[in-house]
């Protein structure tokens, strides 16, 4: 642990915590506009989280310690994962921080506990949600791994910090194949955050909800933490996409002006991707559960081909 790395950790985590709810409401706003509604204000997610934090937490009488520990696990995993993806300033990588595979499985632990807590409350909906989430996860996981492996092969590194150091200051993606990886990463982003062709974040209809069914029994402060963790996860995936497609603006030397500039630039870049997500969600209908593998298989095919071309040609 050296000085610059500690500064990076504080800066990155603080910035992620600060900005995550903003992108959440921005996507909601874009979707509302596309439907001809006015939509919530840009700070609505901050208000919602603040409101939930003041509310009382209610536990089902059937629930065990899993229910109580899940929000803390989810939020802490999200915060640790926030150390892995540089948003503003890129230090020298330290001891495994930034590892692509570790990043994926940090999110995996959060997902595992979420599914357990869905079962834990003893409600039928929670069980349905967990069962759906786990069967989706079993299909998504090979795809996510192969996509990140393709990223690692193209960037010649298994570490997000090294990838960022290599591409920092470049105006365009490192190579043209990065654009293809960007497409696969976008599909992963949609799937991991439970957005429309896969899951609808706004529905509470028992036939269609996946993620919402699992957190149905959570309340008060715990619900706030889970929502916050979801927002952080989304920001991190957006940040990876930004890293791959629009690497300009990251600073490798610490300076106040550079960091402030990077902050402003990241808000702009993240907003661009959020708007794209919102428009994408508005233009799609939710897919049937059984036709979802077609979506994953396209991302899988993209990445396998990219690896194939990079390795053999």
């Amino acid at each position: 642990m050296n000085g610059p790395f500690i500064i990076f950790a504080l800066l990155n985590v603080g910035f992620v915590l600060l900005i995550s709810p903003l992108f959440m409401s921005l996507i909601k706003k874009v979707k509302a506009r596309a439907q001809g509604r006015c939509g919530p204000g840009l700070f609505q997610t901050y208000y919602t989280i603040a409101k939930l934090l003041r509310k009382e937490t209610v536990y089902s009488s059937a629930s065990s310690w899993v229910m109580r520990v899940t929000p803390y696990v989810c939020l802490s995993m999200a915060v640790v994962a926030a150390l892995f993806v540089p948003l503003l300033y890129v230090p020298e990588p330290v001891a495994g921080i930034g590892n692509v595979i570790l990043f994926l499985y940090l999110l995996g632990i959060a997902r595992f506990f979420m599914a357990l807590s869905g079962l834990d409350a003893g409600s039928a909906f929670g069980g349905i949600g967990s069962s759906r989430e786990m069967s989706l996860a079993a299909v998504i996981e090979p795809t996510s791994i192969v996509v990140l492996a393709a990223l690692a092969v193209v960037a010649r590194s298994l570490n997000f910090l090294e990838i960022a150091r290599d591409s920092a200051g470049m105006l365009f993606p490192v190579s043209a194949t990065m654009i293809l990886i960007g497409v696969s990463l976008f599909i992963i982003l949609i799937v991991e955050t439970g957005r429309i062709p896969v899951d609808n974040p706004e529905t509470h209809l028992e036939l269609t909800m996946v993620h919402e069914a699992m957190v149905l029994e959570q309340s008060g402060r715990n619900l706030a933490m889970i929502e916050y963790a979801g927002a952080i996860k989304q920001t991190l995936l957006i940040a990876i996409l930004v890293l791959v497609l629009m690497p300009f603006g990251l600073v490798t030397e610490l300076s106040v002006a550079g960091v402030l500039f990077a902050m402003a630039l990241f808000v702009v870049k993240g907003s661009v991707i959020s708007v794209i997500i919102g428009l994408f969600e508005s233009s799609m209908a939710k897919m049937r559960l059984f036709s979802l593998p077609n979506l994953f298989i396209i991302a899988f095919f993209f990445s396998v081909l990219t690896i194939f071309i990079e390795v053999f040609a």
């Binding site: 190579s175 194949t177 077609n294 298989i297 899988f300 095919f301 990219t306 071309i309 053999f312 040609a313």
Partner: protein, 232 residues
């Protein structure tokens, strides 16, 4: 254009994109987007020919690119678009033998199989000296096989035609990358294709049905009266 790594990246991008369009031909259900996918595939091949012609400075490749754009991006899709205007269906939902997801997995296996077998046929020295051209040859043949997969895994005649056209694109890619075919042969292939498409335009009546129901449809209408009715 002189930047080697830029050209290299561009060529790789085109290779992957071409195979992605082939995957979409295997799995897309809406006919208009199938047609656009084919158009895009041909455009990508034309781009590839332009890139190679700049790198190698050969004029023939440039002519092939122009020919491809004129025939496969403009004329043939125009005729198939006409067919689609005339028939009432917009989707091809049925699949024979293989669902889209499994046919894409099969095509990954095909690509790897082609890579291994072609590595044995073309001498390994060739694969080491010109890896990009070697991969181009592999992808050309894979594109042909994937076109074949489209022909047998999908039921509508119009999709089968698109599968055949995609096979021909595979031959073109193989030609661009490995053995420069004489220009006259390219022209003749193109004329063959255009005549094929014209014939299918005339046989429109049957094309909105599956192959099994085709004979019945052709008997049901007389070809020319149907054309006059539809073109006021």
């Amino acid at each position: 254009m002189t930047d080697v790594s830029f050209v290299d990246g561009l060529v790789r991008f085109i290779f992957v994109a071409v195979l992605i369009t082939a995957a979409f031909l295997l799995s897309t259900r809406s006919l208009p987007s199938l047609l656009r996918t084919y158009q895009l595939q041909s455009l990508l091949l034309a781009m590839l020919a332009v890139v190679f012609s700049f790198v190698e400075g050969s004029a023939v490749l440039l002519w092939i690119a122009i020919l491809t754009v004129v025939s496969k991006v403009l004329v043939i899709p125009y005729f198939i678009g006409e067919i689609q205007e005339r028939i009432s269906i917009r989707r091809d939902l049925e699949f024979h033998y293989l669902a889209p997801a499994s046919s894409i997995l099969v095509s990954i296996a095909l690509i790897i199989g082609v890579y291994l077998s072609l590595g044995n046929i073309l001498s390994s020295a060739y694969a080491k000296v010109e890896p990009i051209f070697f991969i181009g040859a592999v992808i050309g043949i894979s594109l042909m096989l994937m076109g074949m997969l489209v022909i047998f895994s999908r039921t509508k005649a119009i999709t089968k035609v698109l599968g055949f056209l995609s096979m021909e694109n595979g031959v073109l890619l193989f030609g661009i990358c490995v053995t420069e075919l004489p220009f006259i042969i390219e022209v003749m292939i193109m004329i063959d294709l255009i005549i094929l498409i014209l014939l299918t335009t005339i046989l429109t009546v049957g094309i909105d049905s599956t192959i099994e129901a085709y004979n019945e449809k052709v008997r049901q209408y007389s070809l020319w009266t149907v054309r006059e009715e539809d073109a006021p």
